[in-house]
């Protein structure tokens, strides 16, 4: 009798053990990164880091995880809020741990798989390594990668999540960065009114003012804001006056090449209506202010891009008031509400 009972108990114990092991094992369910027909080819090498359901979920947990920062309170999402296309709404520049104030405006996070260089100055040349910059910046998350790894290793949730997401199950910097990339490459914004119009979906049309804006945009803006990503991925000096408090030299900081002084990345314009304020230092609160700047606000700071020079040698892109109004109407068609509310990327 006693023996029978023990056998049954043993059976239950064994069964429950196997069951638990199965739940926290690496059983990859692969996810596909979207390739919209109107987008250029994916740049990110998915073969080296194929996206799995568990890896994506882990990346999402890490994106919303305060432990990535020194005071355990500043996750990536602190400066990258979904409702604003993952920008820091209303902040010209962001603040981080210990009251640190950054020097640049948080950029939107979308369509990162289609880009090869990151940050306003291109200081990151692989998406996997980009998170190292904000994690270790004293003005942002103020941590070390090693210490983040230690904190995660001590957390039972992450002990299980890493086992499910990666074959070797290790909590190390490689898998930490791979999981963050798996989350980021899935963040594709490609379902704005404009996208549906160009792909001729759902019989979406643009209004006359939006179409006029698109025509002017193609004429006067699209040489830099090229392709349906709305960037040619170049770095340019667009003639902003220099803020002496920041004196941000832009891409010059990366190579110390005098040709790079005051150059910043040409940003994508997707979801631009919700990502105010604008420019690398967030100096313009509205798109109207941006239009006025391109029409008449540029200054010769010594290295302005030749493409922004008029035939008479003055700087700027001449825009009538209707052109400004219609370009803004067109830019508003780039808002992708499906992306901004997509629960796959939401914290809760």
């Amino acid at each position: 009798m006693k023996i029978k009972f023990l056998l049954v108990l043993g059976g239950i114990l064994c069964f429950s053990c196997t069951k638990n092991d199965a739940e926290i094992a690496y059983q990859p369910v692969f996810l596909t990164v979207e390739q919209p027909s109107n987008f250029p080819e994916i740049v990110y090498n998915l073969e080296n880091n194929p996206v799995t359901e568990a890896g994506f979920q882990l990346g999402k947990s890490l994106f919303y995880e305060g432990k990535l920062s020194a005071n355990n309170a500043i996750p990536c999402a602190f400066c990258h809020e979904q409702a604003f296309a993952f920008t820091h709404h209303g902040h010209t520049v962001s603040h981080g741990v210990n009251g640190g104030i950054g020097t640049r405006n948080a950029q939107p996070m979308q369509n990162l798989a289609y880009q090869g260089e990151f940050m306003w100055d291109g200081a990151a040349t692989h998406l996997d390594f980009q998170p190292v910059i904000p994690i270790t910046s004293e003005l942002e998350m103020g941590e070390t990668v090693s210490n983040v790894v230690s904190k995660l290793q001590a957390d039972s949730y992450y002990q299980n999540q890493f086992k499910m997401a990666f074959e070797d199950g290790e909590i190390n910097s490689e898998n930490l960065l791979k999981a963050l990339s798996q989350f980021m490459v899935m963040m594709v914004s490609s379902n704005s009114t404009y996208d549906k119009y160009v792909r001729e979906e759902e019989q979406v049309t643009l209004t006359q003012v939006e179409l006029d804006g698109l025509a002017t945009f193609n004429n006067k803006c699209a040489s830099c804001h090229a392709t349906d990503l709305f960037t040619d991925h170049s770095f340019r000096n667009n003639g902003l006056s220099i803020n002496p408090r920041l004196n941000d030299v832009g891409r010059f900081a990366v190579f110390e090449n005098p040709d790079d002084i005051y150059k910043f990345k040409v940003p994508s314009l997707r979801n631009i209506a919700v990502t105010a304020p604008y420019m690398h230092d967030g100096r313009f609160a509205t798109l109207e202010a941006v239009m006025d700047f391109y029409d008449s606000g540029m200054v010769d700071n010594g290295n302005v891009d030749a493409i922004l020079q008029r035939e008479d040698g003055t700087l700027g892109i001449t825009l009538s008031s209707y052109e400004k109004e219609s370009i803004i109407a067109f830019l508003n068609t780039l808002t992708d509400n499906e992306f901004l509310t997509d629960e796959r990327f939401s914290e809760f």
């Binding site: 040349t125 390594f129 910059i133 270790t136 910097s173 490689e174 791979k178 900081a253």
Partner: protein, 265 residues
């Protein structure tokens, strides 16, 4: 006569058996692996390198260092037949830090499970090649955190320091000015990875039951007075991302290595 015949037969036997023994040896190597220790030993000309000791260089300049580190990767061995053996890529990156040296000033790099063979040359890269950068986090394991702990990772941009030197220098115009060389590749635009190939003075025998050592000497003097002689006063006291100065130091670094001797034990 009979004795002569027997001894002749024995002699033949001996020759045949020793021949077949040799054959057996070559065949035995397949599937066999062994350990190899590479000892990096930093020096300055004919002196051993010692922290906070003043060394003279060209242009009447002197320098004292408090940090001396460099990154070595892609160690490859070539055998007598010309076959190349490359240590597995994911384990094939090492930070050579003078601070980790033993009392003899040697920094040990131990390679395990190296294919058994008779190797005649060694090659390695100084820094991280573009191929490895392009892999992103893939295959990096813990290296990023190791590099971070050693101060060999950048945080302002994504990349590794290939060479890290901190100290002071003095010249005819300045005394104890800061000397900092923190350089690597910058994205795909500035590639400062360099490869070094050194032939071995005697063949290194990798066998299951042996633990041979290759003693590599790095002449730090050549960093500043190597292929190109540089002057600290003239832009080389602070070398970080400038394309010209980092390239010159990278070339000099690749030229500072030599194999002093090989132990087969």
């Amino acid at each position: 006569m009979k004795i002569l015949k027997i001894s002749f037969a024995l002699l033949i036997c001996a020759i045949v058996s020793s021949c077949s023994n040799d054959d057996d040896n070559t065949e035995d190597l397949s599937g066999q692996t062994g350990e190899l220790i590479i000892k990096f030993d930093n020096g300055v000309g004919d002196q051993d390198f010692i922290f906070d000791t003043s060394y003279s260089k060209s242009n009447n300049e002197t320098y004292k260092l408090s940090t001396l580190k460099y990154l070595v990767s892609n160690i490859t061995l070539t055998d007598t037949e010309g076959n190349e053996y490359m240590y597995p890529s994911e384990k094939n990156v090492f930070i050579i830090s003078e601070a980790n040296a033993n009392n003899a000033g040697e920094i040990y790099v131990t390679l395990e499970d190296v294919d058994a063979a008779d190797y005649t040359s060694i090659s390695f890269g100084v820094g991280i090649d573009q191929g490895r950068y392009a892999l992103g986090a893939d295959g990096q394991g813990d290296f990023l955190t190791t590099a971070e702990a050693e101060g060999m990772m950048w945080s302002w941009a994504t990349g590794y320091r290939f060479t890290r030197i901190d100290g002071t220098y003095s010249s005819s115009t300045v005394t104890d000015e800061a000397l900092n060389i923190h350089m690597g590749s910058v994205g795909t635009s500035i590639d400062n990875y360099r490869e070094v190939t050194l032939s071995l003075p005697n063949t290194v025998l990798i066998r299951e039951d042996k633990s041979p050592q290759i003693h590599v000497v790095a002449d730090i003097a050549k960093l500043f007075d190597g292929t190109t002689s540089v002057s600290f006063d003239d832009g080389y006291a602070q070398v970080h991302v400038d394309e010209t100065t980092t390239g010159v130091i990278a070339n000099n670094a690749a030229d500072m290595f030599s194999v002093h001797h090989v132990h087969n034990e």
